[in-house]
């Protein structure tokens, strides 16, 4: 795991956690599991519900779209799970 040199989570809205994998199959599976976990947490109203409040998961059947940029993935999408290929596309779109 690599931590950002800037570890202050309050400095920038929607600090993003990213999981990269080479396998599109694994990425899709993990997103599905995470979505199930997210729904469980929200529905049960756990003490840590505030952590999930206002957050939405990246859709289980979608990966960063071809036009997605870093800024468009912020805040609302938590966490970002994608392949290295998709992550490169995300960065390239952000450069434009």
């Amino acid at each position: 795991m690599l931590n950002s040199a800037n570890n202050n989570q309050t400095d920038f809205p929607g600090n993003l956690k990213v999981l990269l994998t080479r396998s599109p199959y694994l990425a899709a599976k993990l997103k599905g599991y995470l979505e199930a976990l997210f729904e469980t947490q929200v529905s049960q109203g756990t003490p840590d519900n505030a952590v999930w409040k206002g957050k939405t998961l990246q859709a289980a059947d979608s990966t960063p779209e071809d036009t997605q940029t870093i800024l468009s993935t912020h805040g609302e999408r938590f966490p970002l799970i994608c392949t290295v290929e998709q992550f490169l596309t995300l960065l390239e779109n952000s450069m434009k």
Binding site: L2, N3, S4, K17, V18, L20, V84, L88, E92, M95
Partner: protein, 152 residues
């Protein structure tokens, strides 16, 4: 196909084997394996950490002097000379066709990060944690683009 017909196509091993390999001299290719040559080009000649510092492929001399530990597929001077010859032909044809490969993408991103402080700042501020599955399989340049932004 001309460069205008499929510009910026990101080529992979399938394209390399089916479209590029047949264009190389058979006097060289008959002794080498397309998959091993492709891996050598991507992982050593273009993608090694040495090339990452200068953001370019290693020279023939650097490649010939690379330790066998770092590049264990082709270890003799003859094999490496042939492989480098194929690399140069590969780059030439790739440019003519307007294709790019994954290493080209990573190098372009690294250059953009280094030359654009605002983009560099955006990356540093955007991501809090990065988890990478299969890091040991990534080429050194792929690792550089990640570690560049998120070194502890």
């Amino acid at each position: 196909m001309s460069a205008s017909q499929h510009s910026q196509r990101v080529l992979d091993f399938r394209i390399f084997k089916n479209e590029y390999w047949c264009r190389f001299p058979s006097t060289i290719t008959k002794f080498l394996s397309a998959d091993l040559v492709f891996a050598e080009i991507m992982g050593v000649i273009k993608g090694s950490i040495g090339s990452g510092d200068a953001l370019g492929a290693v020279s023939l001399e650097q490649y010939l002097n690379t330790s066998s530990r770092s590049a264990s597929t082709f270890t003799t001077e003859s094999e490496r000379g042939q492989c480098y010859d194929l690399y140069e032909r590969y780059e030439k044809y790739k440019t003519e066709q307007g294709d790019i490969d994954q290493v080209d993408r990573v190098i372009a991103l690294l250059k953009a990060i280094k030359s654009t402080p605002s983009f560099d700042d955006t990356l540093k501020q955007s991501f809090h944690e990065l988890y990478v599955d299969g890091m040991f399989k990534a080429t050194n340049l792929n690792y550089s683009i990640l570690a560049n932004q998120w070194i502890i």
